[in-house]
Amino acid sequence: MSENQNQNPEGEEMTTQAAASSSLASISSENLGKRAPGTKPLGAGLEARGVHAWFGKHHALANVSLDFSAGTVTALIGPSGCGKSTFIRTLNRMHEFIPSAAMAGEVLLDGKDVYAAGTDVTKIRLQIGMVFQKPNPFPSMTIGENVLSGIKLAQLKVENKDDLLEECLVRAGLWKEVKDRLGAHAGGLSGGQQQRLCIARSLAVKPKVLLMDEPCSALDPGSTLRIEDTINELSSSMTIIIVTHNMQQAARVSDYTAFFLSEGGPGQMIEVAPTSEIFSRPRDKRTENYVSGRFG
C-alpha cells in the first residue's frame, strides 16, 4: 500500500475524482521511492541498455537506455510514431512477432538479459506482464476463467484458485462489480470493466513488471480514472511502465516520465526525469515544446 492509500482505508469507496487529485499531489520528486514502513517493493528492476529496433530495413527505435527501478511507475510519452510502443514490446519480447523484426542492445530483468541465448521466452513474459490498448479478454471464457487463464496457459500450480481469483479482481478494482457473476461471459462487461479484467488477468501470474500500452485510449473518462486508481494501487508492489498519449494521465500516475521523439529518423528517447520535473522544468527544448502542447 502506498502512503496516500494508507490514509484512506476505504480506497475503493473513494470517489475517482478524489483519488485522481490525491495521487497527483503525492507524486513529487521528494516523496518518490518513499513507502510505508515495512512494505518493500515486490517488483524487480528492469533496465534497457542501448536498445534499438528495426522492422526490416526501417530503423524504428535507436539507442534507448532506461532504468526502471523496482516499484516505480514510469510513463512514456511522445507523439505518434516515436517508437514508444515498439520500445515496450521489446521489453517483454513481443517485438519479435513481426516477421522482419530485429533489435540490438540488452534488456536486463533483475540483471539478466532477457535476450540471452537459451532464455525461455514464455518465462520472461510471465514476469513481464502486458495490458493492451484495446481490452482483449478471451470471449469464449467466463470472467473467472479469464482471470485464471494465465495460470492454465503457463501450467502453474496454485493452492487456492478462489483466493487468487478474488485477490486479482480486488487489486484490479473489479471485484465488487463482478463477484456475483464470475461464471458469466466476459463479453457482457463494459469496455472499462473489460480492461480491468485484463489487468486482473495479468496480475494472476504474479508478474514483477507490468507494461501498459495506452491502456485507456479506448475508454471513456470515467473508466480511465478507475484504471488510474488501479495503477496507483498496484505501483506499491510492482514496476509499471505505461505508454500514454495523455499528458495529464502521465502526470497523475507516474513517478518518472520519459519523452520519446522521432525527428525523421528512428525514434529516440530525448529526456527522462521525475514526472514533476518533466512537466515543470524540462531540460530539453523539444520536451518543453511537446509538454506545452506546441507540437505533437
Binding site: G50, H52, W54, H59, A102, A104, G118, A154, Q155
Partner: protein
Amino acid sequence: MSETTFLDIKPRQPWKATPKDRAITFSVLLLALALAGAAVKLTGLSGKLGFALSFLVFSTVLQIFVSVRKFGRKALGDSIATSLIYTGATLTFLPVGSILFITIKNGVAGLRWNLFTTDMFNASFLDPIGNGGLLHALVGTVMLIVIAMIISVPMGIMTALYLTEIRGKGSTLIQFVVQAMSGVPSVVAGLFIFTSVILLTPLKASTTAGALALTVLMIPTVTRTAQEVLLLVPADLREAGLAMGATQWKTVATIVVPAARNGLITATILGVARIAGETAPLIFTIGGADKLNLNPFKDYQSAMPFYVWKGLTLGTPESIQRSWTAILILLILVLSLFIAARTLGGRRFK
C-alpha cells in the same frame, strides 16, 4: 542536437535459432535417421514407408526430449503438438511427391512421337504404345474446353457482375446458389445433361453435350474467382466514373472490367483447370470415340481423361502404359494452366 548515426550497431534477431540450436536439431535428425535405419534392419517393418514412419516417430520423440530438457515439463504439451503438426504437414505432402514422381516415371516411359500424330482408329488399346495415338483425345479435350469456355466465361463473369455491381435483391440467394453449384458432384452434372439434352433434344452424345456438362462445373469456379477480383477494384474508381456522369454500363465496361482484366483471365484459367481433368461427366455425354472428330455437334468424341480412364479400366499392361503417358500429358497441361494463373494473378490470389 547530437545527430548520431548508428552504423556500428548491427541489428540482430536473438529469437532465431542459434548455431548451437541448429546443431542440436541436426544431430537429432541424424540420430533419428540412424535409429530408423536400425529399426527397419532389426524388426519386420517394411521398406521405404516403414523407414519414413519410424523416422518420424524417432525424430518426434527425440525432439520432445530435447525441448523438455531445455525448458522443463511445461514444454511437453507444446513440443508434442509442434511435432504432431510438423508430422501432419509432412504426411500431407508425401502423396503429392509420390504422385508427381510416379506419373513422371511411368509416363515418360511411354512417350512416343506417334501419340501426337495419330488416333486409335487403326489401333487397339491392347497394342503396344507404338501403335496408334491420342491425337483424337487431345483435340477432343481442346474442343471441349473451348466450347465450355465460350458458354461459361460470359455467364460466370456476368453472374459475378450481378453480385458485385447490381447487388440486387436476389444477391444473397444467388451467392448461395453459386456456392451450392460448386458442390454439385461431377457425376450429377453428367447425368443432368444426359437426361435433359441427350434424351430430349436432337443433340446426341457429342462434344457439345460433354462441354455442356463441363459448363455446369465451370460456371461456379469462374463466378467465384471473378467476384473476388471485381471486389478488389476500388469503389472510388466506380464512383469517379459515375460522378463524371457516365452511365453504370459505361463505368463497368470502361473502368471496372479493364481494371480487373488480369484477374478475370485468371478466373477463366482456373475454371479451365477445374474441368480439364474431369472424367465422370464425360462418361455419360461424349460417347467415347477412337477416331479424330472435328465436328462439335455430331458423333462421339474422346478426351484425355476419358482416354486415361479407358486404359485404366481395360487393365492390361499396354493399356495402363497408355493411361500413365496420357495422364502425364494432361498433368503438364493442367500445371501450365495453373502456373499461368499464378503468374497473371500475382499475389492477389491465395
